[in-house]
């Protein structure tokens, strides 16, 4: 399959505390995959707002992820808890217009496992492609 040719697009909002080299790593993957994925680094996942998620969907994203630090490991104490609530609110909103709540997904990174943001994104995209093929 053409790397840039899966057809679907994903937006990935993530806490930049997750990966110290996120700036380089995400740019390399964006360059490799083109419009397949767009990254949006946040100072903390708690900065996410339902409006960001809806705008991403409206702009054409088929799937929107919000990636947070492990539970209990937020650098700002409870940003990832807030992110969870905001996603839940946005999910209820898109359900009202008939979109599947799964279009918005919270990814809580596992504790103790150091992932770079591009590795994580590849995992998520591979899972998406697998889902499409199945």
């Amino acid at each position: 399959m053409d790397k840039k040719g899966s057809g679907s697009t994903s937006a990935l909002f993530f806490c930049r505390q997750l990966d110290p080299n996120q700036d380089v790593n995400r740019r390399l993957l964006e360059k490799e995959l083109g419009k397949r994925i767009r990254f949006f680094p946040l100072p903390c996942s708690g900065r996410i707002d339902a409006l960001h998620l809806l705008r991403a969907l409206e702009a054409g994203a088929d799937k929107v992820y919000v990636v947070t630090c492990p539970e209990g490991a937020c650098h700002y104490r409870e940003g990832n808890i807030r992110a969870k609530k905001r996603i839940a609110y946005a999910q209820s909103l898109i359900e009202e217009i008939g979109l599947e709540r799964e279009r918005l997904e919270l990814i809580i990174t596992p504790p103790g496992k150091r992932l770079t943001i591009d590795e994580l994104a590849r995992e998520l995209l591979a899972r998406e492609d697998k889902g499409v093929k199945a």
Partner: protein, 222 residues
């Protein structure tokens, strides 16, 4: 402040269904504070409506605007050169704001996106509580700034009903007994003697007995 909650999108869609160009107008005052009708909520609703229309194959143009206040002419006037370009105005203001805009633009279709709920206080982030009924005859001075009309489920003026349990209201255990609060505050501020006063029944004519109320201040008029 005046609080409100967004109507279900299905109800909003029904109201705007016959129209193709919608102006969504928020209000940056009370309903922005209660996260129902400010700029952000205008964006959320507009995005949702656009996506819904697209999914349904319907042509829909939605423009977003937010006024500082929708209940004051000087702010409403910002819509003057805009409203004529749209088939309908979807207002995220309180009922007063919706009606004020409607009065300024008599030929414009305007519908509410919110259900206006109560006069309240931001108790904590994400929690708003009703604490004023706008009865027109404020007696907070006698009751240690705790309104028995609003915060006592039975609206009692002359002491507690006796049904409270461990300072909670017997009608709703999530709510503190207003009379417990009144007595505690009067005691803490050395004003328990105020409880000796017997209050007659409230004069509800000051609230709704003569139709819609108005306030006239000649010194403020031009």
């Amino acid at each position: 402040m005046i609080t409100g909650e967004r109507k279900p999108i299905s109800e909003i869609k029904e109201m705007i269904a016959p129209y193709r160009k919608v102006l969504v107008v928020g209000c940056g005052s009370c309903v922005a504070e209660c996260a129902a009708g400010g700029e952000k909520e205008v964006g959320l609703l507009s995005s949702a409506l656009r996506m819904d229309a697209k999914a349904a194959g319907k042509e829909l143009e939605v423009r977003e605007m937010t006024l500082d206040r929708q209940c004051v002419y000087e702010f409403i006037d910002q819509l003057t050169d805009v409203v004529d370009q749209y088939d309908i105005v979807l207002s995220l203001a309180c009922g007063a704001g919706v009606q004020a805009v409607a009065e300024v633009f008599p030929k414009v279709h305007i519908v509410p996106a919110l259900n206006t709920t109560f006069l309240g206080e931001t108790k904590e982030a994400g929690l708003w509580i009703e604490n004023c009924r706008g009865c027109g005859d404020c007696k907070l001075g006698f009751f240690a700034a705790v309104c028995p009309v609003t915060r006592c489920a039975k609206g009692l003026f002359n002491g507690p009903c006796g049904g409270s349990r461990t300072d909670r209201c017997e009608v709703d255990p999530d709510v503190p007994c207003a009379w417990q609060l009144i007595v505690s505050r009067l005691e803490a501020t050395g004003r328990l003697d105020l409880l000796r006063k017997v209050h007659p029944p409230a004069d509800w004519s000051k609230q709704q007995g003569k139709g819609p109320r108005k306030i006239i201040r000649e010194d403020q008029r031009t």
